[in-house]
């Protein structure tokens, strides 16, 4: 963003004058689902040659709005104007025809097809694949985005930054003049973010209008020109490029934060955590300092551990690390590089084919999930809905699916409902799980409450080592603060944590040490004692450091 006093402000203003046409206008967009109004009369406007940042926490309604603009869903009411003309975006196909290109948060590339095939997927009309034409188009787009891409590589073999380039090329394949990016930096290394910035600058010069969605303030500042803030389904603030040009950076920050959290007392009390979540770049936020745990005994040790399973996922190979009691040990890395295999190998859901796992000196490599659980192992999985809970079972039962058959909740193979319900009620209250009743089906709860079920289940009954896998992903700030608070409380009581996350900010805030995993191997470990730690980790992720 360009603030007042920025030497390029006048230049920005001048370039605005020439190119500033209203590319896309969304007026009073409303979309409701049973129980919640996701978008409540939202207005958006984007100009060509400009990057609009759509800012808001998880659950504010950003994804719904984007799905409407991309044609995946239709609004209940409201109008959309493209280049001044009223348009109905009834399907992704129509969105494309209208010139809207979307890069989704989760890769839509098909890993078994080549880059070229992925790009040609959108081509229509002809029977034969136009390979030659596609190659030419790719060449033009690649030079615009800043980097050559081999059209014949399999999409699955691309590095993450390249993948995103291809995704952008794909979004622009049909000749778009509006580009929507959904949380584009969530999986990138810091260096790749800079590359993205450069690409966006280049696209802006071509006259493209860009909308990008994020819940991180420092990203908005880095990549956006104008900003619209969403909160609880409503648009609560819009600052145009011109307006920002008249404010200082700290003024802008203040206005935005206030619009996001003003008059919400609970948010204010959690404001430290909230600010950290939003905005690690700022000096106002406390930074975790690595604690001195040299006296603490090693509680969990992996020696040359390799995992194996039936799935087509990345397995871990030859992992060696040791964690001390009371430590918060982080695992950073690009999503899908073996994090799940590591977590499952530690808790027993996946077999260890080579190497050993020690708990307090005891070799537990051959123990199953139940046995390790009784020793104190716990696992908060990242797949809340399909693995963590059983959606069709009640909330009460979900709290006990890891204790089937145990006394006093089960007696002679049958459920002892009074004991189970009593304990379930206690847990629901302790962890503030919002549910209409004990018997409500788990799958109907919100993401945040499902996460609370997982936490209640794993943190109860005397845990010793808890593996957290992406515990705050997709959650609103309040719940994020709650989760982090519970984690810290557990540690302060002597517990040990292995925190797996793709969120560098989260890792640097909470961890003492962080290892980086890449393609199933640990490629480096850093101590959390410098402010440059994000860059260090990023370097490992890309494979720069030695």
């Amino acid at each position: 963003m360009r603030f007042a006093g920025h030497s390029k402000y006048q230049e920005a203003l001048n370039s605005q004058e020439g190119l500033s046409t209203l590319c896309l206008e969304a007026i009073q967009i409303t979309k409701a689902f049973p129980g919640v109004v996701a978008n409540d009369r939202i207005d958006i406007e984007v100009r060509s040659g400009e990057v609009l940042c759509l800012l808001g926490e998880n659950g504010a309604g950003k994804s719904t709005l984007i799905s409407i603009l991309s044609g995946m869903q239709q609004p209940d009411s409201g109008t959309i104007k493209i280049n001044g003309k009223i348009s109905e975006i009834n399907s992704p196909r129509i969105a494309k025809d209208l010139g809207i290109g979307v890069v989704y948060q989760h890769s839509t590339l098909i890993s078994t097809l080549t880059v070229l095939e992925n790009l040609m997927l959108g081509d229509t009309g002809k029977v034969l694949l136009d390979v030659k034409g596609a190659k030419e188009k790719l060449l033009t787009l690649a030079s615009l985005l800043g980097g050559a891409i081999d059209p014949n590589t399999l999409a699955g073999d691309l590095a993450l930054g390249q993948q995103q380039q291809v995704e952008i090329a794909k979004a622009m394949w049909g000749g778009s003049n509006i580009l929507i990016l959904d949380e584009p930096t969530s999986m990138l290394t810091p260096q790749a973010v800079q590359d993205l910035q450069a690409s966006l600058e280049s696209l802006k010069r071509e006259g493209l209008a860009v909308i990008f969605i994020t819940h991180k303030l420092h990203e908005a500042f880095a990549l956006g020109d104008a900003v619209t803030v969403l909160r609880a389904g409503r648009k609560v603030l819009h600052l145009s490029t011109r307006q920002i040009g008249e404010l200082s950076e700290s003024q802008t920050r203040e206005i935005i934060l206030k619009s996001m959290f003003g008059s919400d007392s609970s948010a204010e009390s959690n404001s430290v955590e909230v600010l950290t979540e939003m905005d690690t770049g700022s000096e106002n936020v406390s930074h975790h300092k690595q604690r001195d745990l040299a006296d603490s005994k090693i509680i969990l040790e992996l020696k040359g551990v390799s995992s194996t399973s039936q799935y087509n996922e990345v397995e871990v190979t030859d992992v060696t690390l040791s964690i001390r009691r009371g430590e918060v040990y982080g695992i950073a890395g690009i999503d899908g590089h073996g994090q799940r295999s590591l977590a499952e190998a530690i808790v027993g859901q996946r077999s260890i084919s080579r190497g050993q796992l020690f708990f307090e000196g005891l070799d537990v490599s051959k123990m199953n999930v139940r046995q390790r659980q009784s020793l104190g192992f716990r696992y908060v999985t990242d797949d809340r809905l399909h693995e963590g809970i059983v959606g069709s079972l009640s909330v009460a039962l979900n709290l006990f699916i890891k204790r089937i058959g145990q006394r006093p909740y089960w007696r002679m193979g049958q459920i002892n409902w009074s004991a189970l319900n009593e304990e379930a009620s206690r847990l629901i209250e302790k962890f503030s799980i919002k549910t209409p009743s004990l018997t409500t089906r788990g799958g109907t709860l919100s993401g945040g409450n499902i996460q609370k079920i997982l936490l209640a289940r794993e943190l109860a009954f005397d845990p010793k080592v808890v593996v957290f896998n992406k515990p705050t992903y997709g959650l609103d700030f309040k719940t994020v603060a709650l989760v982090r608070g519970l984690l810290k409380e557990f540690v302060s009581q002597g517990g040990t944590v292995l925190l797996i996350s793709t969120d560098l900010d989260e890792l640097t805030e909470l961890c003492d040490r962080i290892s980086i995993i890449s393609r199933g191997k640990i490629v480096g470990t850093v101590d959390n004692n410098s402010t440059k730690i994000a860059e260090e980790i990023g370097a490992f992720m890309v494979g720069d450091s030695q």
Partner: protein
């Protein structure tokens, strides 16, 4: 409110059957047969006077097969090898029963034979279960392959060692009536019915009231959740397949010892295929499936004679069963959409309908 839901559920489950019977009637007309005669024959030979007792005897093996299917389908395991599991039991029983019943007390013989049939049925499921548990290999095709192999093997046994040496027709020795299962006093229903009912209630208890049943439900919902909860997935796969195979094998023992008394080659009553839609209609719940299996046993018993009298192949019943399945899936779909308050017209069709209406007329 609850009674209204019960009413809706009743309609949703009975409607597919009614529609299928109606469509069946139309087909009969097309084939030049009289549907009224056809259906009244089914009533006459399936229920009227004492015919219902014949249906009750047929009910026993069908119920066991139904329970065998429910156990695996609830867990999303597709044991489609039921024909082979049934026939190997049938072959072994009809092969050994003439000799065993001659040399020991009949009750002991029946007991041993039943164990043998159940064990054979279970044994046939081992390879598909192992491939699924160890490699995740699709059990649909492995159980089907096993089924064809087992049926062929059963035929070899019947034509070979089990062949009745005194006749030319390829079949086993016929078990004399006094060595077959007795009837329930006062009726001509085989006591196999009691065995079947006992098994059904036992399995129902297992599925609905024990921790094993809960683990099964969790595994059926998601095998990942089951792993997460510490349930051993391979153990579950094996156990369920073995139980299923055993129940189906037991069905053959009740059937042969209680009704047929012998087995011909290339004979396959294929209860599994016929019962499949009904266990789904019963929402994979043992008790709820009872009325449906009863209905089908009447249809099959009456239908066996009714198709003959109409000059139709007995495979016509298969057509009715297929129709029930198809109608059931559609009605289920409509019902689910209504439950969710959603339209059941797919959005593409809706838009089409929208465009064909006049401008101001949009829902």
């Amino acid at each position: 409110m609850k009674s209204r839901k019960l009413g809706v559920d009743f309609i949703r489950t009975v409607l597919p059957v009614l529609l299928a019977l109606f469509s069946g009637g139309l087909l009969l007309l097309i084939l030049g047969k009289n549907p009224i005669n056809f259906y009244s024959d089914i009533w006459r030979f399936g229920i009227a006077k004492k015919s219902w007792q014949d249906s009750a005897t047929m009910f026993a093996p069908m119920l066991l097969v139904a329970v065998g299917l429910i156990v695996v389908f609830r867990a999303n395991l597709w044991n489609l090898g039921y024909d082979g599991q049934y026939l190997i039991g049938a072959a072994l029983i009809s092969g050994f029963s003439p000799y065993l019943t001659q040399h020991m007390s009949v009750w002991l013989a029946w007991f041993l034979l039943s164990i043998m049939a159940a064990a054979a049925g279970a044994a046939v499921t081992i390879i598909p279960a192992w491939l699924k548990a160890k490699f995740g290999t699709n059990e649909i095709i492995t159980s089907l392959m096993m089924s064809f192999i087992t049926i062929g093997f059963a035929n070899i046994l019947i034509k070979g060692p089990f062949q009745d040496p005194n006749i030319v027709v390829p079949q086993t020795k016929v078990l004399p009536l006094n060595h077959m299962l007795p009837h329930i006093p006062g009726t001509r229903i085989s006591i196999g019915l009691i065995v079947a009912l006992a098994m059904a209630f036992g399995v129902h208890y297992l599925l609905s009231r024990t921790s094993f049943g809960l683990k099964l439900d969790i595994y059926g919902a998601s095998s990942k959740s089951a792993q997460h909860a510490g349930i051993s997935v391979p153990k579950m796969v094996f156990t369920l397949f073995l139980i299923s195979g055993a129940l189906i094998g037991l069905a053959s023992s009740v059937d042969i010892l209680g009704h047929w008394g012998y087995v011909r080659t290339n004979w396959n009553p294929s209860y599994g295929n016929a019962i499949l839609p009904f266990v789904f209609l019963g929402r994979l719940n043992v008790l709820a499936s009872l009325p449906f299996v009863m209905f089908y046993s009447v249809l099959a018993t009456g239908g066996a004679i009714s198709t003959q009298r109409s000059g139709l192949s007995s495979d016509f019943l298969l057509v009715i069963v297929a129709l029930i399945l198809l109608f059931m899936t559609v009605i289920e779909y409509i019902g689910t959409k209504q439950d969710l308050g959603q339209s059941y017209i797919p959005s593409g069709l809706k838009r089409f309908l929208k465009f064909s209406k006049s401008e101001g007329d949009l829902g």
